[in-house]
Amino acid sequence: MKNEKYISVDENNDGIDRAGFLKCMAWAGTGLFCMMSGGVMKSFGMSQLIDKNIGALKKGLILPKADFTFAQISDSHIGFNKPANPDVLGTLQAAIGKINAMPTAPSFILHTGDLSHLAQADEFDTLDQAMKNAKTGKIFYVPGEHDVLNDNGKQYLQRYGKDTKGDGWYSFDYNGVHFIGLVNVVNTAEGGLGVLGNEQLEWLEKDVKGLSSSTPIIVFAHIPLWEVYPQWGWGTRDSAQALSYLKRFGSVSVLNGHIHQTLQKVEGNITFHTATSTAFPQPQPGTAPAAGPMKVPAEQLRSLLGVTSVNYVEHNHTLAITDTPLIATKETKMENQ
């Protein structure tokens, strides 16, 4: 991308242009807002829904009816203080503000890891304090590799691992949807790839064994469960085996973080989605010598942590990403991205 480490044409005043989105490399929002309706998940970037000037739902927007909603945030990196974003707490609070501005509070929030930057007690404390302000029923976590530095995740487990298995994996059911939180950061493979490990894979196989194939499945983990860019460790070595256990299900969505940008992919019945960070952007795969915090002009940071919109619609037992806009009235016309 010539002369650009960020998307330069901003048609919607949200930091994303259409071309960038169509490349499936769009910078995404400070959080995702997800709706479950009849077993189908639809997700929207927070920035797309909330008017930043009034701190409430954009005028004229009508949200589709949903059985329930939840939000995903990721990669808060509390404790990070380098030039890419010296105020990671402020941007996390902004993401929480957007969640709180939704007309219906999400039933729960999924945080897909890297809560902290250096796995320090004070960093976890700060995150906990900030998350207490989120208006939601519960917050579910999975760890990122930054949360397990030094101690292979002992502190993380003490804080967030109650009622989990192994290194912190677990599942739960909500409104007929089966959610599975996986841990792929405690064991690592050459090149920084994530690893689930045999114990967790065996657990996963048993966990889904008794479920009907029509049960909607949502998997969340930190490192992507598909090969985004293995050269930078953006993938999970043994994810294929995990996904093989989910092939028989009609509707599977996989939510990840780690790469600090939104990418989407559909493979058979499985839809993959990675979320942005609430802290700082990273380069698009292969556009820099290595992954890492990317400094952008200060006035552009929040817009680069901007917006994405993804809708998932079930067709014939498979999921497909379609460019379905939010329902808009005459007053608010939203471009179908």
């Binding site: 796995a119 320090q120 530095l149 493979a189 920084g192 490990g197």
Partner: protein, 133 residues
């Protein structure tokens, strides 16, 4: 009256000192194999060096230098099994030497912001520095 004022000042000073000590991150006691980095380094400083200097500076993850435990894929941080770990030690010593000899940095420490030369100076996000163009 003067005596009680003196006691008051002493008590205030003691509180400041105790609070200061409490604010310093406590060193982790169980590091088994630190040879270049200070043995009493705090977990925060050690983690910051690992992330800022090595992960970001070389574009690698922990497993680049640290070997896995024998019975699992978990990392054995104390192990010297991987040669990259010893190379990292040599590189840290070289970096400290260059800063001290050529940039007059007294008592240089890896991760210290006063260093003129860091891992990033040459590596620029690569495991092995590229030849200068």
């Amino acid at each position: 009256m003067q005596v009680s004022r003196k006691y008051g000042v002493l008590i205030a000073m003691a509180i400041v000192v105790i609070a200061g000590i409490a604010a310093v991150p406590s060193p982790r006691k169980d590091y088994k194999n630190l040879k270049v980095l200070p043995k009493d380094i705090s977990t925060k400083d050690l983690s910051r060096i690992m992330i800022d200097e090595f992960e970001d500076g070389l574009g690698v993850s922990c497993g680049f230098c640290h070997a896995e435990e024998k019975d699992s894929h978990k990392l054995d941080y104390a192990s010297d099994e991987k040669p990259e770990k010893e190379i990292a030690r040599l590189m840290m010593k070289m970096t400290l030497d260059v800063n001290e000899k050529y940039f007059q940095v007294t008592h240089p420490l890896i991760g210290d912001s006063v260093l003129s030369i860091t891992c990033m100076t040459c590596h620029k996000g690569q495991p092995r520095p590229r030849n200068p163009e």
